[in-house]
């Protein structure tokens, strides 16, 4: 839902859904890009507070946003990423791409 997307200064904050699979990912990417383009945000923050499941499709969403914004110097951040999601990011080699924000 759109209340899960908030622009604060130069940051797009996305409250990720409970389950992030291919079905959900398509929708997240589409919405995120609409904000990135229309509000000209430079950075994206993924909030995993609610997330209880993620597969490699979620990795694709993060990588895809990174590719869109990194050429303009933007960064991607992950907040509330539990040990499971950290492990998926590590396995995918995203440790140098996603900045993990400790809570």
């Amino acid at each position: 839902m759109d209340e899960d997307y908030k622009v604060i200064d130069n940051y797009l904050m996305i409250k990720m859904p409970a389950e992030i699979d291919h079905h959900q990912s398509v929708d997240i990417s589409k919405r995120a890009d609409r904000y990135i383009v229309s509000k000209q945000v430079g950075n994206v923050v993924f909030d995993f507070e609610r997330t209880t499941f993620m597969d490699s499709s979620g990795v694709g969403v993060i990588l895809g946003r990174y590719r869109k914004i990194s050429c303009f110097g933007g960064k991607v951040y992950a907040v509330n990423a539990g040990s499971r999601i950290r492990r998926l990011l590590l396995l995918s080699g995203l440790e140098n791409i996603v900045e993990l924000v400790e809570n």
Partner: protein, 162 residues
């Protein structure tokens, strides 16, 4: 060539289910909930549950988007066969889609033929990481079978093999 179907010795099988569903993306969540419900009597740990759900989600997503080209047709079918031998889970995900030309290459981490769909190329890598064993059988134009094994819960790894 390895035979995908073989005669089964039912003396070792403690439970079995065969699920066939439409290759539509709603069924990615359905398939992983079904496998979670199937192994529930083994009292899996939360980590084991996540591992199995992730691997199944990868295999089923691949069948739907790569095997059947993401066209969302109800008449395209994915099969998921699950079997328990004591505490060993076997999951087989089968599609009759386009198949894979070079399986070894497909299984390399980060390799994907669909960067335009933002696939990360980590599907097979996750299946390998989260299951104990992974086998992939595929033939172009015939389809793909992914077979995975994992020991669940506290039981011991006791599969008789001849």
């Amino acid at each position: 060539m390895i035979e995908v179907t073989e005669k089964k010795d039912y003396r070792l099988v403690t439970n079995e289910m065969r699920l066939e569903f439409a290759a539509v993306s709603d069924n990615e969540a359905f398939a992983r909930m079904a496998v979670a419900a199937f192994i529930a009597p083994l009292n899996p740990t939360l980590e084991e549950l996540s591992d199995v759900k992730t691997a199944v989600s990868e295999a089923v997503t691949n069948a739907i988007i790569h095997g059947y080209g993401n066209r969302g047709r109800v008449t395209d079918r994915v099969q998921m066969n699950c079997e328990l031998k004591g505490s060993i889970l076997e999951v087989e995900v089968v599609d009759r889609g386009v198949g894979i030309e070079d399986v070894n290459r497909a299984m390399e981490p980060l390799y994907t033929t669909r960067p335009e769909w933002e696939r990360s190329g980590m599907g097979f890598a996750f299946m390998e990481a989260f299951m104990d064993e992974l086998e992939v059988f595929s033939e172009p134009e015939m389809g793909t079978t992914v077979r995975m094994y994992k020991k669940i819960g506290l039981g011991s790894w006791i599969v008789d093999e001849e």
